[in-house]
């Protein structure tokens, strides 16, 4: 089981999009993929063409005292995914306090009894909570998504300096950074991207995802850019990301 955890350096950097596209490509390349949405905003499901009105998900199942894995879905392309589920703030708080034990996530993943070469991709929120910390700890590799923007840069330095992720050395070693939403017409974006590359050197994944109208359109069509515009640069870049991931595990 290869556990990949994707986290945005802050909200709206596009980490959910990265999860959806990476999982689709990995599936396309013949891998067995399970996507686990631990982000309460519950947006991942929309990339997989799930009914907007359908409230089910693992969290809502637990809070309705149903087994959580009954909320597993499979998209047309064969990616299995577990949405978070629609759940209000109060219920979420009580869920986090009452139902999520310290080793909840690793236990559940073990229960799934997946084969050695299957992928589990976990989508977590950019804020730290019980769920995201567990996901970070139990994953084999962490992709932290950054936008080439000043606020991302600032947030990145903050997070590294305050050791928010780096108090655990093992987390340092397995974290890699992905630059997303690079706007081709913005000189500043390129400048920040260059600074990021110089700063992070080999911790940066050698694929940059460009900001592309196709990506937005894909979500509007409830799918991923790999299907919406398979020949677009974004789709090709996500493919390169998936291949980098596979190579990372084969190394």
């Amino acid at each position: 089981m290869r556990i990949l955890c994707v986290q945005g350096i802050h909200s709206s950097v596009g980490s959910t999009t990265v999860v959806a596209n990476a999982s689709r490509i990995l599936k396309e390349l013949g891998h067995d993929v399970l996507v686990f949405d631990l982000n309460p905003n519950n947006l991942l499901r929309l990339h997989f063409n799930m009914d907007w009105q359908n409230p089910s998900g693992w969290a809502s199942n637990i809070s309705h005292e149903k087994p959580w894995f009954s909320a597993a879905f499979e998209c047309e392309q064969g990616v299995r995914f577990i949405p978070f589920g629609q759940i209000n703030y109060k219920k979420l708080q009580s869920l986090l306090i009452n139902s999520i034990a310290e080793t909840w996530l690793p236990d559940q993943l073990n229960l799934l009894n997946l084969s050695n070469d299957s992928w589990v991709i976990i989508n977590i929120s950019s804020e730290l909570n019980e769920l995201s910390t567990q996901a970070l700890k139990s994953s084999d590799i962490i992709i932290r998504v950054i936008e080439p923007q000043i606020n991302s840069l600032s947030q990145l330095i903050d997070s590294i300096q305050s050791s928010y992720i780096y108090e655990d050395v093992s987390l340092i070693n397995k974290s890699f950074y992905l630059i997303n939403k690079l706007e081709p017409t913005s000189l500043l974006d390129y400048d920040v991207a260059l600074i990021l590359k110089k700063l992070l050197l080999n911790k940066i994944i050698p694929v940059t995802i460009h900001f592309d109208e196709n990506i937005k359109e894909a979500l509007a069509n409830k799918t991923t850019v790999t299907i919406h515009a398979p020949k677009s640069p974004a789709a090709i870049e996500f493919r390169a990301l998936a291949i980098w991931l596979i190579n990372h595990f084969n190394r």
Binding site: D212, E213, A229, K231, S232, A234, I236
Partner: protein, 872 residues
């Protein structure tokens, strides 16, 4: 329209598809539709549909799906959709060819020749493998020895060896043989040469050179001793002329071997880590009358060279005193130097700039030679390692076709004229510390340069002369065979000839006023290298002699070589064969066999006079600038420049006619001599046809040469959508793109292209000017100076922009090279024929079109690329 649509609309089914449905074979029916669509056109006559069905019916089940592809691949020249009778002939000839000669490609073999092939391979390998081992181990041994120091380290011993070798050589050259002994000797040497030719390494190289020197010296010895007929004054007259030309050729051959016996293949040396100790460099871009558009790119690229900012200064040396150059230079932050006279042209221009600037080193680029960004870091290390080093030269590389390449149409397929000098000769010179200054793409050290009085102004080839002076002062030079700049080739044959006339005149001038064989300060090897570089340009007259020599016998019935024909053949043929084998082995990928002859034939007449004049009075003659980057608006034949070739052709044709006459009506014992002279004349005519072919100027419409590229880029259109494309070609004015998507772009639409370089990307606005299927042409939409600089960075001045350019050429194959020369020459005569009155040309043109028709009937070799396909 997919095949599925076909079957839904039953009413519109064509009759032949229905047939399959009637016999209830719908899967075959589907395959047939695909087959028909790929192979046959829509309006195919019923007859060929029937033929198609017959072929189709013969296919096996598993092949049926790809049947059309297989047919297309194996019968590329057969038109299946509208076959003529000839197509049927083509089909069966090809079938025969595939089943016999190319039988290993197909499954059914009729004749099996494998065992013969295997036996031949076995014999060849058993001979060659041990030789290869020997060659490799000697290479290893020789690499440990510093060749250049060998003669110095133990002078006495080496002199003994030299004496011994010299004595042996003289015996070899002078011992007279009987005819049968000469035959045996020649065959043995040829056998050894064949073995050496097939073995890679330095030892075989030396063996081939030794063989060629031996056999050619033997030839010359024989010529001087037994072939001059002193009794007949006409024979003596022609004989002496010919033997003079032959002696010249022999000297050039020997000096040439000496020059390139062991190319040094220098590697760049590292600079110190601390950039503050790097020396300061001035970059000079001399210009006189070239348009700003050309100089712009060079200037921007020069400013982008990776060197500490406070240690590099770029100067435009404008001898044209043009204000727009000054404005542009100021705008981009380069220096601008001009002067109130134009004395001594480029040399004077540089010397004047030397008095104004202060850099420790001077890098010089002709205004169209765009340097790459790594230029200084690649070259400067050598200077810091060797205090006596005064010059580093890098190759001149051209991204546009030279007149030979453009007019013959072999750009990037055959190594060009330049290639030999910069890939082999300069590297060979470097071993003897005699690589010389070529005027551009090079760095000079200021102090030594000032010590010899700046750039030499006495001759029109100031570069070679300056290097000679530096060498005389005991400074050394280095050659780095790494392409670090690229420029424009001369635009037309007449410009090319003009440039070569200047070089030839200049070299002759130096030979006369500052002869490298005389004077102080040079080592023997340097003297020899310089001498060869100079007398190489004196080859005009000897070449003309060779082009006319057979006429001496055919026209005047004079025995130029006073010996029996069979003896001439036995001495001359091995000489020519060995020289060609050795040169083909050494020059391999950089000059294909026989091409040198074409180049020399083209120049011979034009350099003959100026070199002779310069030898007599070196002061006559003026400097002419080589025009570059011009337009040739339509194809035309340069009649004025080809007049000498036309005269020579007429003379040689007379020779051919006379040869035929003498063969049939002359004395019987002369027949072999006639045949020899006939062959010689025919060969001369082949060379002259090649020269004619080059004089047919092919049109060149762009001022800015488009350079081929293959870079993945991204396009951003106005709606914010990105899509992938490939950069196919570029110039400083625009780009050609191949769109991999079915995305439509409108003409005149303004889009942005995103070109990567390393981990950076650069964005440029372009306007689409034309589109053709997936290819679009676009021109830049008002680039800022910064954007122009960025575009240069990710195209012209990428450090690897040209480094792989010359590595694509395959090894020389003398026979196929001869065939391509024949084609070029044939083409030349066709051009001539078209200019003659119609009643003469018509039969010839008919013959030529008949030949090309017959050629379409011949079977084609099918190259099997299925393996590649699978890998991809």
């Amino acid at each position: 329209m997919s095949t599925r649509d076909h079957f839904n609309k039953d009413t519109k089914l064509p009759i032949d598809v229905k047939l399959f449905f009637i016999i209830n074979q719908s899967t075959i029916g589907k395959d047939w539709v695909v087959f028909k669509k790929t192979l046959l056109a829509d309006n195919t006559p019923l007859f060929s549909i029937l033929v198609g069905i017959v072929f189709f019916a013969f296919c096996y089940d598993d092949n049926r799906k790809n049947a059309a592809q297989i047919f297309k691949k194996h019968f590329p020249h057969v038109n299946f959709s509208e076959p003529t009778l000839a197509d049927i002939l083509r089909f069966f000839l090809q079938l025969l060819w595939l089943s016999t000669v190319q039988s290993n490609r197909t499954k059914n073999k009729i004749i099996n020749l494998d065992f013969i092939y295997l036996a031949l391979t076995f014999i060849k390998l058993s001979l060659l493998l041990p030789l290869e081992k020997i060659s490799i181990s000697t290479d290893r041994m020789l690499n440990k020895v510093e060749i250049s120091n060998m003669s110095l380290s133990n002078k006495f011993e080496s002199q003994i060896y030299l004496l011994f070798a010299g004595l042996l050589a003289i015996i070899c050259f002078s011992v007279p043989f009987t005819t049968s002994a000469q035959v045996t000797f020649s065959l043995l040497l040829l056998f050894v040469a064949f073995l050496a030719y097939s073995t890679p390494g330095k030892l075989p190289r030396l063996v081939l050179i030794t063989l060629s020197v031996t056999i050619s010296s033997r030839y010359l010895w024989w010529r001087y001793n037994s072939t001059l007929n002193i009794d007949n004054s006409l024979d003596v007259f022609f004989g002496v002329i010919l033997i003079f030309a032959e002696t010249y050729a022999w000297i050039v051959l020997l000096l040439g071997f000496f020059q390139i016996v062991w190319p040094l293949e220098r590697k760049p040396l590292a600079l110190p880590e601390d950039t503050s100790v790097w020396p300061s460099v001035d970059i000079f871009i001399p210009t006189y009358n070239e348009p700003l558009e050309i100089v712009k790119t060079t200037l921007l690229a020069a400013l982008d060279i990776d060197w500490p900012k406070n240690k590099i200064n770029v100067f435009v040396l404008d001898d044209g005193n043009r204000p727009e150059f000054k404005i542009f230079a100021n705008e981009v932050g380069a220096g601008y130097i001009t002067r109130d006279n134009n004395n001594h042209a480029k040399a004077g221009n540089i010397n004047h700039a030397l008095t104004i600037t202060q850099g420790d080193y001077i890098a010089i680029f002709d205004c169209d030679h765009v340097p790459v960004r790594s230029f200084l870091q690649i070259t400067m290390g050598s200077f810091l390692a060797d205090i006596k080093l005064a010059l580093v030269q890098t190759p001149h590389h051209f991204y546009s076709p030279d007149p030979f390449e453009r007019n013959i149409g072999n750009f990037k397929r055959t190594p060009n004229e330049n290639n030999l000098f910069y890939s082999v000769v300069q590297d060979g010179n470097d071993l003897w510390n005699a690589s010389f200054f070529c005027g551009s793409c090079s760095i000079l050290k200021r102090d030594p340069l000032l010590e010899v009085g700046g750039i030499a102004t006495e001759t029109v080839t100031e570069d070679a002369h300056t290097a000679l002076r530096l060498h005389r002062k005991g400074y050394s030079s280095a050659y780095l065979n790494i392409i670090q700049a690229s420029g424009l080739a001369t635009e037309s044959l007449s410009a090319h000839v003009g440039q070569r006339i200047r070089w030839a005149r200049g070299m002759a001038q130096i030979f006369r006023i500052d002869n490298p064989l005389l004077g102080k300060g040079l080592s023997i090897s340097q003297r020899l290298c310089y001498t060869n570089a100079m007398i190489h340009f004196l080859g005009g007259i000897p070449r003309l002699i060779f082009l006319l020599a057979p006429l001496g016998f055919l026209l005047f019935h004079s025995y130029l070589i006073y010996a029996p024909a069979i003896e001439i053949l036995l001495y001359a043929a091995p000489t020519l064969i060995h020289a060609n084998i050795a040169n083909s082995y050494i020059q391999g990928r950089y000059r294909y066999s026989f091409w040198a002859e074409i180049y020399e034939t083209v120049l011979a007449w034009y350099i003959a006079r100026p070199t002779t004049v310069a030898l007599i009075n070196p002061k006559i003659g003026k400097f002419n600038v080589t025009a570059k980057g011009g337009l040739i608006e339509k194809d035309y034949f340069d009649l004025s420049i080809s007049k000498p070739y036309l005269t020579l052709i007429v003379l040689n044709i007379i020779g051919i006619v006379l040869a035929v006459y003498r063969y049939f009506f002359g004395p019987d014992d002369e027949q072999l001599t006639v045949i020899l002279n006939f062959a010689w004349t025919a060969y001369n005519l082949i060379l002259l046809g090649g020269a004619i072919s080059v004089a047919q100027e092919t049109k060149q419409l762009r001022t800015n040469q488009r350079i081929e590229a293959n870079t993945e880029i991204i396009i951003k259109n106005n709606s914010g959508h990105l899509f992938c494309a490939t950069l196919r070609d570029f110039s400083s004015a625009g780009v050609g793109l191949y769109i991999n998507d079915e995305t439509k772009l409108e003409k005149n639409e303004i889009i942005h292209i995103l070109i990567p370089r390393g981990d950076k990307e650069f964005l440029f606005p372009v306007r689409i000017t034309h589109e053709n299927k997936n290819y679009i042409g676009a021109i830049f939409e008002k680039l800022t100076i910064q954007q122009q600089l960025e575009f240069t960075q990710c195209t012209y001045s990428r450090s690897d922009a040209w480094s792989l350019w010359n590595q694509n050429f395959a090894k020389d194959k003398p026979l196929s090279s001869l065939i391509s020369i024949l084609k070029v020459s044939f083409h030349g005569y066709l051009i001539l024929l078209r200019m003659l009155p119609q009643f003469i040309t018509k039969p010839f043109l008919l013959l030529s079109s008949f030949i090309s028709y017959i050629k379409t009937l011949l079977p084609k070799n099918i190259i099997d690329n299925t393996l590649e396909y699978k890998d991809a």
